[in-house]
């Protein structure tokens, strides 16, 4: 083993992580690893808590995607109560998830990744942020801020607050959508759509100009996992689970979430707190698969709304059918925002959104339940076992970001091998490696804590531990 390069911490992601790039004796990149350096421990400290508290507790896993945990937890609760939530509750859960996907994707695309995309990977790191983006692309940046605000308002209208709404519960939800709030959403939809279409147009220009770079940006065959509707359409809330391969061939279709452990194994690496799930029939690490926007667009046959379906057709034409390049996560994210906006528009006239029949009441009728939901970053599983009083005996959370762990590692290795030559490494090349991670929009549970200054610290270290060279990007 030769030297290694460490990028610590990785910036503009949700949480704390670092990347190590390993060089051989000739300073050629031989591998790269993505390490998640934070530990939360939710699965352990949920033990002993009542089932009915789980949605509220697990919402605290994250300040960005709490809704995903609330929904997956409530669904696991539905299973344990052995109830089907009232139709209005099911629709309202879907409605909130649409708002959640919009706000989270808007944060990822406009706030975190657009500085790389539209200012350039090699641009001045001091300006490669939202401020710099506003100066260079004011319409895009302003629209992005308001788009995220829109998604957060959808969540707040239902859950009473934008972050950590303990709104979905086993058996249903707590509140319906008020008429005034429905009207506010309706009024803001045209602007949200215009922003998304504008961003799609700008991103496609970028795709046209950067084909070579995109081909080296996490482009490899893997399986893809996501929910699909009963007709194979794009799905984010209910539906059935589907694995497809890198050519789009269906590998497994319609498996019961309760059987997830038959198909998904969870490996642990000593170098990271993030688990490495894999497709069990192929073993570890050959069973690499991806989840999230790219996977959802690869597993579905169509979206079911006119604008998004038009974009999906073009997406597949540009990406070659089933899309394997991870750069396209950004593109898929924008198409999903558009799909969410169209679905919201379609649902707005449904009287069930104002219904007061919102919750099925029951006691403990099963000792085990698995809830699944599509979080913005991918398929999320909550698996609980309870005692006769409904106290949690065991909890297992299979998080979307974890399921992309193997793919993120392969992506950073591919980018590093393509760009890094020797010890003289410009900052922009390191940023490309980080951007490989940002494409997946990993959520490492930053929750509510400030990131503060997050400089990049790179070190070239000899096998004996001595530092050959050091590079710092100031915070």
């Amino acid at each position: 083993m030769g030297q290694r390069i460490v990028i610590d911490p990785v910036t503009r992601i949700e949480g704390h992580a670092k990347i190590t790039i390993y060089l051989d004796e000739s300073d050629r990149v031989i591998d790269a690893r993505f390490h998640v350096t934070e530990f939360r421990g939710f699965e352990r400290f949920c033990e002993g808590r009542p089932l009915w508290e789980m949605a509220g507790i697990t919402a605290r896993v994250c300040g960005i995607c709490p809704v995903s945990h609330v929904l997956a937890s409530a669904r696991a609760g539905d299973q344990i109560l052995a109830v089907e939530p009232p139709p209005a509750a099911q629709k309202l859960r879907r409605f909130m998830n649409l708002g959640q996907i919009i706000q989270s994707h808007a944060l990822s695309f406009f706030h975190l990744s657009s500085p790389d995309l539209f200012l350039g990977m090699d641009s001045d790191p001091a300006r490669r942020n939202l401020f710099g983006l506003i100066a260079a692309e004011p319409e895009l940046a302003r629209g992005g801020i308001r788009l995220r605000q829109f998604g957060q308002e959808v969540i707040a209208f239902l859950g009473g607050k934008k972050i950590h709404p303990a709104w979905a519960v086993p058996g249903g939800v707590r509140h319906a959508l008020a008429e005034a709030d429905r009207e506010t959403i309706r009024q803001r939809l045209p602007e949200a759509k215009a922003t998304t279409l504008h961003a799609l147009g700008r991103l496609k220009q970028l795709l046209d100009q950067n084909q070579e770079a995109i081909q080296a940006f996490g482009n490899f065959p893997s399986l893809f996992l996501g929910l699909v509707g009963s007709d194979g359409s794009w799905e984010h809330s209910d539906g059935r689970l589907r694995f497809v391969d890198s050519t789009g061939r269906i590998v497994v279709d319609g498996f019961d979430p309760a059987r997830y452990a038959d198909f998904i194994g969870e490996a642990v690496e000593s170098s990271s707190y993030l688990k490495s799930p894999f497709y069990r029939p192929l073993g570890y690490p050959e069973g690499i698969y991806r989840v999230g926007p790219l996977a959802r667009l690869n597993v579905c046959t169509h979206i079911g709304t006119p604008l998004a379906d038009g974009e999906l057709t073009e997406f597949r034409q540009r990406g070659g059918g089933t899309v394997n390049a991870s750069f396209y996560y950004h593109y898929a994210r924008l198409i999903e925002i558009l799909a969410c906006l169209e679905h919201i528009e379609r649902m707005l006239d449904d009287p069930d959104l104002g219904s007061d029949l919102l919750r099925a009441q029951a006691g403990i009728n099963r000792r085990e339940g698995v809830g699944v939901s599509e979080a913005p970053r991918g398929t999320l599983f909550h698996h609980y076992q309870v005692d006769e009083h409904g106290l949690i005996r065991r909890a297992n959370l299979l998080i979307a970001t974890g399921q992309n762990n193997l793919a993120m590692n392969r992506t950073v290795a591919q980018i590093a091998k393509h760009y890094i030559r020797g010890r003289d490494i410009p900052e922009g090349l390191l940023n490309r490696v980080e951007a490989g991670i940002r494409a997946y929009d990993p959520c490492l549970s930053c929750s509510t804590h400030a990131v503060g200054a997050m400089p990049i610290h790179l070190r070239l270290v000899r096998p004996d531990g001595s530092v050959v060279a050091e590079l710092r990007r100031p915070g």
Partner: protein, 171 residues
């Protein structure tokens, strides 16, 4: 009439870190005052800032027991390399408002002293006293009295400082 926006930020489940939200809740019924309670300062707040004539950020910070409230004028920060994530300092948020809307309100940071930021609910006596003091300051402002015109006797430990260090938001 002045439109005063009070933004109380912090985590109510981290003891004294919840002082900002407590202040915001307490002054919500004052005439001319709008309040926002958040864990962190986020870019989405810029529209609210742009529509206010005065914004008062209320945060909590570690301080020795018995310390008083600190008051500082906030200046817009627009060339900040620290803006790498999705959470902002008061100065950065003001700077973002300037960039997005071309205007900024008068802005103050009220810092409530805290001694305990462990997991838990409720405020320490130091933070609770700070909350009362902060509410008094905001009440006077809502009543038309400028913060900078407070007499030295009135503002002892809450004497305004200009361009205080723009420390990261503590959520």
């Amino acid at each position: 009439m002045k439109r005063i926006l009070v933004i109380g930020y912090g985590n109510p489940l981290r003891s004294d870190d919840g002082a900002g939200p407590v202040v915001a809740q307490a002054v919500a019924s004052l005439p001319g005052v709008e309040t926002v309670i958040v864990h962190q300062l986020l870019p989405e707040l810029v529209d609210r800032l742009a529509n206010a004539t005065c914004v008062i950020f209320v945060d909590a910070a570690q301080a020795p027991p018995g310390a008083g409230v600190e008051l500082a004028l906030v200046r817009p920060v627009t060339d900040e390399a620290l803006a790498v994530g999705h959470t902002f300092t008061p100065g950065q948020l003001l700077g973002l408002t300037q960039l997005v809307h071309g205007r900024t309100p008068e802005a103050w940071l009220v810092t409530v002293p805290g001694c305990c930021f462990a997991v838990g609910e409720g405020l320490s006596p130091t933070a609770a006293a700070g909350v009362r003091q902060a509410c008094g300051l905001i009440e006077r402002l809502a009543g038309g009295l400028s913060l900078v015109s407070c007499s030295p006797a009135e503002r002892t430990s809450d004497a305004p400082r200009e361009s205080a260090p723009d420390r990261p938001a503590t959520g």
